[in-house]
Symmetry: D2
Subunit: 272 residues, 4 copies
């Protein structure tokens, strides 16, 4: 566990294991803690690196409006701090958006890129959904905020089959969602993604890229990732039937197999 | 324009045109008025019948908790009132749920059945989303209610391409959503669907049935209609790429073509 | 039943019923006879017009190499012969290809266009498959020709569930496929489609167009129709899960509902 | 390079690298040689084991009718010969069918199972296609055999984009396909799979199983793998858009990433 400093703020990161560096970029409501149980699997052969963005987990709070470009710079500082030459990045949702910006801006720092359930653009549609989240967040009605933000992240079948676990988790989440500090962080994070539009820059991504869609992703539906796949030159596209936006929670076995297979596969074109 | 009475309440319905009866059952936020511009197309060769359920449009308000069985009886009364022998039913979302109940309970009254973007069961997942709607509705924050309920009904691409129209419509909707009477109605309607579970009864549906999924339906995703298609014996299943839950608004040309083709096709098996 | 003359050859066509003209263009192995049992349904409200292309059914045999442009002219002659102002066209597979050429060349003659399981281009992939058909056809081994050309036209599940019917049909087909005259006709038909490439002209199609894919179409898979839908400006795209290339045989109820709904729907934009 | 003996025949296998054993089971027309260029990638961290089934590559020819149960026993003998406790199996198409039989019969020998573009049953549909192959094979017309069997294995887009490579490969294949010994082998292999029906035994598979469909698989379309996924208890299902039956040739990068990620992922459930 450690921090680095940037822009007069502290940023939390965690490194486990050794090997080819594998950086995980969190979804908007997540933090480094969200990956705790993934560590044994992901750090077995890799230097597994987690990061809390500004306004996430143990990192500093933002004090004014910022965009995802800021988070991109935070990641850049982490790379410098760890003295890494190149990293492999797995980004999911918000983290995937930052990963896209980073891969466009610092192509020389990215070895392989993995984008799960994410988008290159915050459309008016997604903006309005985000505004709704902010408006309910501001009321500090944690119960309503839970019902608006959590079910939609999971596939209906996973949610239903794990309903007891969901309801347990809900108790903790409702308390969190009623907390003003949390909601201020969430609002800034949501706002930071509102202007995202990197569609015309996707052709600048040079890294070999894995793009994964979940059939029942209600926030960044597969149409978004098909667009990514059509614009990123060295991309490989997979579609996972039956799962939702939080595929990595719904099927961590398959999720980690995809990540580890893609990142650790020895380079070298197979000629047939 | 006319009313009939049932259970000491008044129910609004409207009949246009003549021919094979075609009854439209509204989605939860809709009313007979929602179909106004569809009338010339749908009444050309058919007796096109619209109905406001309890708590919809010009029908009476509910005065206590009820379930969708009640709406099923309202439809039954309409059939009696109009002295119809058999009807063809198109139900979308909430209206499709009532249509399913009706086709199970009164199979002798149903000729052909058309189910668009609907489900046979309100799962815990859908229940929690509905509770979120109710919780925000209760605050009379029309802006938040709009952002929570409206974008999710449309495909992202339709919403984005018709954003000006959406924003115009938003003005009217935000006012409506801030109205206490409307929100009380909406809450009762949402609550009325909470216990729906007709999955084990779907095999009782004897009507020839058209089932349509929209790829980007975020409320009753295609997995729900695939289940309907697997359980209803004489069903025909279509999948419409690119559209959302409100497919009938997004592509009224295709929607009305599907309805009219299915309802007016002369009976008779084609042997090959 | 009637013939018209063109280019010193006779072409067979058949007209049933009255109303808005609906012309059906056959798949490569089909003829006007293939639609016999569809007539009552399709002629109820329409002038249902069938045509045997050159080398099909009761029309003349070709005497030299020709392309699908020739069949396009045959259709043009039929329109003149019947003194029709505008026609609606349903084309499946080979017939859809001719329909595309016709709608590009004679936009003023086309009211609505329906394209089922077809393509705008005979790729190297489809060419090689066609050459294989020709090579086996030349051996007059009807049994092999059946196994190579027929199963692939149907979805596996339809083929298996109707296996007795298939085996009955096989007897007749094996005899036909062993016939030298038939195989010469088939070879010319296959050859006539080899150069098809209208992709760059699809934007010239002005007719309102319905495009339908079947999930299990192994000859012109859905990727081909998605391309059509992306290039034809006024197109509506449907995807039918579970069926194969011969969708119209596998589910004639749904097929005729789609055709009749699309062709007979009263014009007029529905404004929402 | 080495052989083992069984049933008075010789079977060729090849072992490269060290680590967790990973056995590849060939598609029907393949041999150990088909994987030559995959060796550096697949043997980096694994004991990569290839096998020629009876009538494949350098293994003995069959001398009478046999079923895939026989090939299952060949695999069993290889495991005994190599003194392996448990193996991980990747089977594609024909090889996947044998893998399914093996995992049902010898569950104690299987650690993880990977099934690509395969089926648990040779339906009447697939039987008839196989019979067509045999009938054309018997004519020793290599050109026709190529056109019937090869394009259908690839996605149209891959085939078209690599047409020069295909045509080069065709020269070699046409010669091979005109060879009587090869065709006798192929006929026995095709016949060996004709009776396959393990659907009712799939619940006996205890291994953690990855199941992969390619969108444009024209021989064992995705509907077959969805059935596998619904019947194998510990299965994970992936869908790869745009590729065909020979996905492993069309995108070896993605194919090997999936295999290596799934087979080398450290065990251990991730609790969330």
């Amino acid at each position: 566990m450690a921090f680095f400093e940037y822009d007069n703020k502290k940023f939390f990161y965690q490194v486990d294991g050794q090997g080819e560096p594998l950086v995980f970029l969190n979804g908007i409501m997540m933090s480094t803690r969200s990956w705790d149980s993934f560590v044994p699997t992901l750090s077995e052969h890799n230097m597994f690196i987690r990061l809390d963005f500004l306004d996430q987990g143990q990192s500093s709070e933002g004090d004014k409006f910022y965009t995802q470009e800021y988070q991109c710079e935070v990641l850049r500082q982490l790379v410098l701090h760890l003295k890494l030459e190149k990293i492999n990045i797995m980004g999911v949702s918000y983290g995937g958006e930052v990963a896209i910006i980073f891969a466009i801006k610092y192509p020389e720092l990215v070895n392989r890129l993995m984008l799960f359930n994410t988008t290159a653009k915050t459309s008016n549609w997604l903006q309005d959904i985000g505004r709704g989240w902010n408006e309910i967040g501001a009321t500090l009605n944690g119960e309503a905020y839970y019902n608006i933000t959590i079910p939609v992240i999971y596939s209906p079948s996973f949610y239903v089959q794990n309903y007891d676990w969901m309801m347990n988790r809900k108790k903790m989440l409702v308390e969190l969602f009623s907390n003003q500090v949390f909601q201020h962080k969430m609002k800034r994070l949501v706002d930071s993604s509102e202007q995202l539009d990197e569609i015309d820059n996707l052709n600048k991504i040079k890294a070999e890229t894995l793009i994964v869609s979940s059939e029942l992703d209600m926030l960044t539906p597969p149409v978004e990732q098909r667009l990514l796949a059509s614009k990123i030159s060295k991309s490989h596209y997979l579609f996972v039937p039956s799962y939702g936006h939080a595929f990595m929670y719904e099927n961590p076995t398959l999720f980690t197999a995809l990540v580890l297979g893609f990142v650790n596969r020895k380079d070298g074109k197979i000629s047939i």
